[in-house]
Amino acid sequence: MNLEAFENRVLPTKNKLFRFAFRLLGSSEEAKDVVQEVLIKVWNGREQMAEVQNMEAWCMRITKNLSLDRLRSRQRRATDPIEEGMQIRNETLTPHERTESHENMQRINEMIASLPEKQRQVIHLRDIEGYSYNEICEILELDMNQVKVNLFRARNTVREKFIKINAYGL
């Protein structure tokens, strides 16, 4: 793969990679670093890439692995345990949403941030990025059953916590 192919096929995935890393890490700076690392990794490993069928899914998988590595080293560094997903809460929103002060958007955001890691990954890949179940299996290195169970639980949490409570005015 030459630089031109890299620019046409790999670089355009950067926003998807960024969103995924951001969802996992909750910090846009760190997510940006991870995406850079992923792209450089892909470039250095371009020789083996001829065998890769779904380049985008492959890049997403590297993003997931590098993000989780970072999360783990962050946890090791932290002296007191940070509540999972705490940092994601406010930063994930675009400035537009913040100024519009969509309170409910923020609540959904918090809710997804507080989901267990796997559920958060699956709901992001399916409902935000629109990947097929097969692609999600490939990215997350899970089998179909696990993907579906995690998606079901994630959607159900959103339904129970957000829609039902709001709908009945509780």
Partner: protein, 174 residues
């Protein structure tokens, strides 16, 4: 799109039975005006929509990546080149070591004495004679020294007061 259809789709959605196309339909539906009872659901889909628009918030991101890639390129090549040389060198080393050991084994199996060292037979005879003479010289010298042992033997016999017959028998034994 009628609301019955949407409701059915939504129920399928919560049960994770919708296809990607059907989920896209839901998204599109909830982008528009929706009845009050569906406002919350609409917000969930609007949230997904808004999240998908998020981009890397850095203007020079591509440039930075390209720069880093170009920095990496020569390094990676040099390393690979050295790795290849290393492989070749290791291969050669194995071959050289193998031939060395095989040669040694061969030498052990066929001692070099068998091979002719002199081309002129006369010279060879002279050398052989010389060598044999050296050995015989060594033998005669050893014999002389061995004679001294006999003196000790005789002395031992005298001390023990044995008959010369017996001592002679001992001598032959020695």
């Amino acid at each position: 799109m009628d609301s019955k259809h949407i409701e059915a789709l939504l129920e399928k959605y919560w049960n994770c039975e919708t296809s990607l196309e059907e989920e896209q339909q839901l998204r599109e539906y909830y982008r528009g005006e929706v009845p009050e009872s569906m406002k919350e659901v609409a917000q969930v889909f609007q949230y997904f929509d808004s999240q998908q628009k998020q981009q890397v918030n850095s203007v020079d991101f591509d440039a930075t990546v390209k720069k880093k890639i170009k920095q990496q390129q020569p390094d990676a090549k040099v390393v690979r080149l050295f790795q290849n040389y290393g492989r070749i060198a290791a291969g050669l080393l194995v071959v050289v070591a193998a031939t060395y050991f095989v040669r040694q084994e061969v030498r052990k199996a066929y001692p070099p004495e068998i091979a002719d060292t002199y081309s002129d037979p006369k010279l060879a005879l002279e050398e052989t004679k010389k060598a044999l003479m050296m050995i015989s010289k060594g033998f005669s010298k050893a014999q002389k020294e061995a004679g001294k042992i006999k003196v000790f033997n005789e002395a031992e016999v005298k001390i023990q007061g044995k008959t010369p017959d017996e001592s002679e028998a001992n001598d032959t034994k020695i």
